[in-house]
């Protein structure tokens, strides 16, 4: 784990130097855009459509479009000025009960570890929070973005959840088509409750896996190993063995005729016509209907 932030928790007179680590990781499998023809990954070019030229980073500023086509530009320093003064601090404002916070507020979780000689203060804060059962609400700035956050004890560690500000959360009233004044049938309600009862179980996160990711990883492994993946069931081409068997059948069907002198053909039949119409002994025994299943049958992944 690498440190994503370094600073201190402050509340009252207590000052706890901490390092912050991401508690979760995004395991989405990322793919790149590749030129089909030559297999090279694409490079992206920042281009000015007006000057029709590529633009280097040193020529780029951030701009806010306050009116269509009109921008106010900001230099990096200007933006840094307004990031909160207490940049390096997690200032605990209040202590609340965890159950009071709806999960909708939680954004991303980080672990906090004591930094330098912060071990004692860290332990003190953790113990106090554990015993009170409270969690701290704080303000924190990470990379120029200021967030609300909740500090809580997770196993033997302090964790901090960044939170949305209330005005970042859309009210339920904006959701269309929510039922109003509809009476539910008591019987049906009873049934539904019974069903919930039956499906009720302790939460075991290990039970749940990302099936899509597993299938995708599997597919990738096959590709990397050079095995072919059947996207759609392959069209069943008539087998050469079928053709050879059909040829053989035609030969055999013609066998009685073969002994018939018949009208002379353009080709010199000579002695050949009287001969049995079987494959010559020396030359393989014709088609072998037995098909060896040596060809790798790859799992159909779709």
């Amino acid at each position: 784990m690498h440190t994503v932030w370094k600073g201190a928790i402050s509340f009252g007179l207590v000052h706890v130097p901490v390092k912050m680590f991401s508690a979760t990781e995004d395991k989405d499998i990322s793919m790149r855009y590749v030129h089909k023809e030559c297999g090279s990954p694409l490079s992206y070019v920042r281009k000015c459509p007006v000057c029709d030229e590529e633009v280097g980073w040193e020529e780029i500023a951030k701009g806010y479009e306050y009116e269509k086509g009109k921008f106010v530009l900001f230099e990096k320093e200007e933006l840094e000025q307004i990031t909160e003064q207490a940049n390096k601090a997690i200032a605990i404002l209040d202590f609340v009960d965890l159950s009071e916070i709806d999960p909708i507020y939680f954004q991303k979780t980080y672990y906090l570890a004591p930094d330098q000689a912060g071990g004692n203060a860290y332990q003190l804060l953790k113990e106090a929070m554990q015993q009170s059962g409270k969690i701290g609400i704080a303000k924190i700035s990470i990379r120029s973005k200021s967030s609300l956050a909740a500090i809580r004890v997770l196993d033997e560690c302090l964790a901090i959840e960044t939170m949305f500000y209330p005005d970042e959360i859309r009210p339920v009233s904006q959701v269309p088509n929510l039922p109003e004044n509809i009476q539910v049938n008591d019987k049906e309600l009873g049934m539904a409750q019974m069903l919930i009862e039956q499906l009720s179980t302790p939460f075991e996160p290990k039970k749940y896996g990302d099936d899509y990711r597993e299938r995708l990883l599997d597919l990738i492994e096959h590709k990397v190993a050079g095995e072919e993946i059947k996207i759609a069931p392959a069209k069943q081409e008539t087998n050469v063995i079928d053709l050879m068997a059909a040829l053989q059948a035609s030969i055999e069907a013609a066998k009685p005729v073969a002994t018939d002198p018949g009208p002379a053909k353009k080709t010199a039949r000579g002695k050949a016509k009287a001969k049995p119409a079987e494959p010559a002994a020396a030359a393989g025994e014709g088609p072998k209907p037995k098909r060896r299943k040596t060809a790798k049958k790859n799992e159909t992944v779709s």
Binding site: G39, E237, T238, L243, M244, I251, K271, A280, A283, G284
Partner: protein, 313 residues
């Protein structure tokens, strides 16, 4: 003993099929001629022109699965079926690939079969000096037929096999002398082919357009003195709309001012002459009295040197 690529034996064309005890007939499987070399280690597949095609046919690399020999050279034809019959165009979809990923992707899409008909080298010894009869015996003892590998059966009733080959819409038959030895690089009457469909590799010397897209190729063959003789134009066959579009694009860089053909093509109006660099395999019914192709049908672009496309009839 380093196995350097050999030039395989070629049959001569015939209209009159031979007869006699020593002659057998085999179906002429329409695909690409392929020689397999193995002396322990890795298998090598090399075509008639000496070009290596090992990468193109990964299903043939595990030679132990289809051949019981410590070292061997096998001669045969790699085919791919369309609607139950071999299609040269189809096998070229495999043979023409160079990008590893595409080759892998097409293994399933375009299945191939190696139709083996001869053995030239076996367990450290050349067997080309043995009569065909014995080589065939050796083949049946050595090759294990499978989904991707088959032995070409031989038949004693030559006219019957010819009839059957016509009936099944196959390319033709090859008649071989059981007493004959295998002559490396040879081409003579010990193997004779009779084709139901004629074909020729022709040089493209010009194109015509319809609505801005190429709609026909003007074809030619070289004479011994190096001049290109126009032999007809072909606009039908296996090429799809996308192929014609791509031809149209590529033609733009190949246009030349002067007509590459020494004689005057009957279809000259609106023709654009191009550098004679492309070779196409064309099926046709027969030669017209005016020495052009009747009903030519384009089968595929082929990797053949234009200089090798000669008028030798």
């Amino acid at each position: 003993m380093p196995l350097t690529p050999i030039v395989p034996f070629e049959p001569v064309m015939t209209d009159v099929l031979p007869s006699g005890e020593q002659w057998i007939a085999q179906i002429k499987w329409d695909g690409v001629r392929m020689i397999t070399y193995y002396e322990g280690g890795e298998v090598q597949l090399v075509n008639r022109k000496g070009n290596n095609r090992t990468r193109q046919y990964p299903e043939l690399l595990d030679i132990a699965s289809y051949c019981r020999a410590d070292s061997v050279i096998l001669d045969g034809e790699i085919i791919a079926l369309v609607d139950g019959v071999p299609s040269f165009h189809q096998v070229m979809k495999r043979d023409s690939l160079r990008v590893e990923q595409q080759i892998k992707a097409r293994v399933q899409q375009v299945p191939i079969v190696y139709m083996i008909f001869d053995i030239l080298y076996y367990n450290g010894e050349w067997v080309t000096g043995r009569p065909l009869r014995e080589r065939q015996q050796l083949l049946t003892e050595t090759v294990i037929p499978s989904g991707h590998v088959q032995l070409v059966p031989s038949y004693t009733d030559i006219p019957l096999l010819h009839d059957v080959s016509v009936q099944h819409r196959l390319e033709g038959i090859v008649v071989k002398d059981l007493n004959s030895v295998y002559a490396l690089g040879g081409k003579d009457k010990r193997w004779q082919k009779r084709k139901n469909i004629q074909d020729v590799n022709a040089v493209v010397g010009g194109v015509t357009f319809r609505d801005g897209i190429v709609n026909a190729l003007l074809l030619g063959l070289y004479t011994d003195d190096g001049s290109l003789i126009y032999i007809g134009h072909a606009g039908t066959g296996k090429l799809k709309v996308a192929d014609w579009r791509s031809i149209t694009e590529r033609v733009a860089n190949m246009a030349v001012k002067d007509r590459p053909f020494v004689n005057q093509p009957e279809r000259q109006k609106g023709a654009v002459w191009i550098r004679p660099e492309w070779v196409v395999k064309v099926n046709f019914l027969e030669w017209t009295p005016g020495d052009t192709l009747r009903q030519p049908s384009i089968q595929a672009f082929v990797d053949v040197s234009p200089a090798d496309c000669r008028l030798d009839l």
